[in-house]
């Protein structure tokens, strides 16, 4: 599926279309028998059905939109449907499949892919936790919002309530230390796989007598050093800026302003000793 947030040319209409479609999906849950403002009149509330539907939708959305953690797009595990070759990270597609590397190197790559799959599974359990917690929060709070004739404004208010509940649940989970550690582990495993794959590519291009990334980087580093030296020489030949006026530049005891906004916190401290 095209992701409007990740394309080079951002398409707001595409992003809006996606959000509107998901809003309609949400309304579908709201319209379950007895489930709130959009529900059928007179039916007994079925909170568990509503919670189950909301949780399912949200979990699916989290999986598809946040599946790999923020820094790195999923490196798909074998059998996940995408295959190793599609193990593209946000850093760009991996250059080669594991099979193209020498056996020992290939094993390292496969180990990393397996590690990623394991971490992805752990991440999925968090999405499930967040989604179910959000749904429970929502049905607990929606009592006051439920009832009355279904209106568009009412549906939009329910949506706002849902977003608040979902974000609260999300925030509560993603701040946990173990979640933060998992995010970092995912990013590290993904980066390690990318670096490993590039290492394979390096040996391949060397075999063909082509310049490798490392060689190009070394050349760039030399070029950078030369540019810096050139800039310093050019700078040395340029006229110097006037000497700073000690009364103004770098002053520490600037004059006290005549007036201050009411909410400003102003500090007029004695000068601290220099460390």
């Amino acid at each position: 599926m095209q992701n409007p947030f990740m394309s080079a040319a951002f398409k707001p209409d595409l992003a809006f279309t996606g959000a509107a479609e998901r809003f309609f999906e949400l309304l579908k849950s709201f319209s379950l028998p007895g489930a709130g403002a959009a529900g059928a009149a007179g039916a007994a509330p079925d909170w568990s059905a509503l919670a189950g539907s909301l949780a399912g939708q949200f979990e699916q959305w989290l999986k598809s939109s946040q599946s790999a953690g923020p820094w790195f797009t999923a490196a798909s595990a074998p059998g996940s449907g995408a295959g190793f070759g599609a193990a593209a990270s946000s850093f760009g597609p991996l250059p080669l499949g594991a099979g193209a590397a020498p056996q020992q190197d290939a094993q390292r790559s496969w180990d990393l892919v397996a590690r990623l799959a394991q971490l992805q599974a752990q991440l999925a359990s968090y999405w499930s936790e967040i989604a179910h917690d959000a749904a429970q929060r929502f049905v607990t709070r929606m009592g006051a919002a439920a009832g009355g004739a279904p209106t568009l404004d009412g549906a939009l208010k329910l949506y706002e309530l849902w977003v608040n509940c979902a974000e609260e649940s999300y925030a509560a989970t993603v701040r946990k230390e173990e979640f933060c550690r998992l995010q970092a582990q995912l990013a590290n495993a993904s980066a390690a796989l990318l670096v490993e794959q590039r290492r394979h590519a390096e040996s391949l291009v060397r075999a063909f007598g082509l310049p490798s990334r490392n060689e190009v980087d070394a050349l760039y580093a030399q070029l950078k050093e030369l540019r810096t030296q050139l800039a310093e020489l050019t700078e040395a030949r340029r006229p110097k800026p006037p000497q700073p006026d000690r009364a103004t530049a770098g002053r520490g005891a600037g004059k006290r302003p005549a007036s201050a906004p009411a909410r400003d916190r102003r500090s007029r401290r004695a000068r601290k000793p220099r460390a």
Partner: protein
């Protein structure tokens, strides 16, 4: 283009009474969004006056009205804006009625802006010393020489504020007044989710992985509040109270939010490690180019504006600046808005320039 397809059959009878109206609103909003798709961004005339690598220094041309006071303007101390590496600086000059740059020009200031450009693979070894000493430093020196002045005012925004703090600490004679916007100093405040997430990143792997595309950073920022930042704001367009102009403003902001440059691998790895992981700036252990960055060495007047509802730079992360600086003239002020609202909301557009201008006027 994927057509909008909403199956509303599930909302039968009374429950679906509003569906026709909702469907109309969706169609109308979609049509208007398509119209607004090509809105322009950036509004004030500027010219490139210096460049180094991918970095370009721009000088904004005076507004016609302000040009009448040209002699006064040329005598005034120039103001250099140093934006973050992770976003484009045109958000400060997005449109005429929401342009910090324009307000500064309108007040007769001589405004310069650094555009870091798009680092490519040739720049993957650029480090923070390059950015601070040679890119930012080069801009400062060019302005000082070309204007024949000994110092300038520096306005650092977000990550650009961090770079500005470093530069000012290392070259304090060149900076007369320092203004920082949404600038973190303490990266380990408990409410800093971004910091928690990157705390255990392997920065050596990050360095080896090469430049990080802007999309990857966008993904990171969106993941901080995913439903609000990728869904809710679009559904809110269905509330039906936005005119075409408001919609165009919305699209401009969206365009900016998703238009992020790639990040040079080494500089990003250093930033993550030194600031987010090791919190070196506030601990006084940061060294750039072999020189210690001592915030207590910043003795010039400092105006620090931060957002009270900032989910990227929590207010406490920025307000911590007060206790680290050597300056006796520190003004800290929290504005009741969010991170992006500081640059582009109606409130930000009204309040930020006024505060900066009045503060600078008091420190000629």
């Amino acid at each position: 283009m994927r057509p909008f397809s909403a199956d509303a059959s599930f909302l039968a009878g009374a429950a679906g009474a509003f569906v026709p109206e909702l469907t109309l609103r969706v169609a109308d909003t979609l049509a208007r969004l398509r119209q607004a798709r090509d809105v322009t961004v950036g509004c004030s005339a500027k010219r490139a006056v210096w460049s180094f690598g991918k970095t370009t220094l721009y000088e904004y041309l005076p507004l016609r009205e302000a040009a009448r006071d040209a002699p006064q303007r040329s005598a005034a101390r120039p103001l250099l804006i140093c934006f973050a590496l992770v976003n484009r600086p045109y958000v400060l000059d997005l449109q005429p009625d929401r342009s910090l740059v324009r307000r500064l020009l309108d007040a007769g200031l001589s405004v310069y802006l650094i555009d870091w450009g798009d680092p490519d693979d040739a720049d993957r070894c650029l480090d923070l010393e390059d950015y601070v000493e040679r890119h930012l430093g080069g801009c400062v020196r060019h302005i000082l020489v070309s204007r024949g002045t000994s110092s300038l005012d520096l306005l650092g925004v977000c990550q650009g504020g961090v770079l500005s703090l470093c530069y000012t600490a290392l070259h304090r004679r060149e900076v007369a007044n320092l203004v920082t916007l949404t600038t973190p100093v303490d990266f380990h405040t408990p409410d800093n989710l971004l910091s928690k997430w990157v705390r255990e990143l392997d920065t050596e792997l990050l360095r080896q992985s090469g430049n990080v595309p802007g999309e990857a950073l966008n993904r990171l920022f969106l993941a901080l509040m995913p439903l609000r930042l990728t869904q809710q704001k679009y559904v809110r367009l269905l509330a039906g109270n936005s005119d075409q102009r408001a919609l165009e403003d919305f699209v401009r902001m969206e365009r900016w939010i998703f238009d992020s440059p790639p990040q040079a691998a080494v500089a990003l790895a250093e930033f993550v490690r030194w600031f987010y992981q090791e919190n070196r700036l506030i601990r006084g252990t940061l060294r750039i180019g072999g020189k210690r960055v001592d915030l207590a060495a910043i003795v010039q007047p400092v105006l620090n504006l931060y957002a009270l509802g900032d989910h990227i730079v929590p207010p406490g992360a920025s307000a911590a600046m007060e206790r680290c600086l050597g300056s006796r003239d520190y003004t800290g002020c929290g504005i009741d808005t969010g991170h992006i609202g500081m640059y582009a909301s109606r409130k930000g557009a009204d309040e930020i320039p006024s505060r900066i201008l009045s503060w600078l006027r008091e420190r000629p």
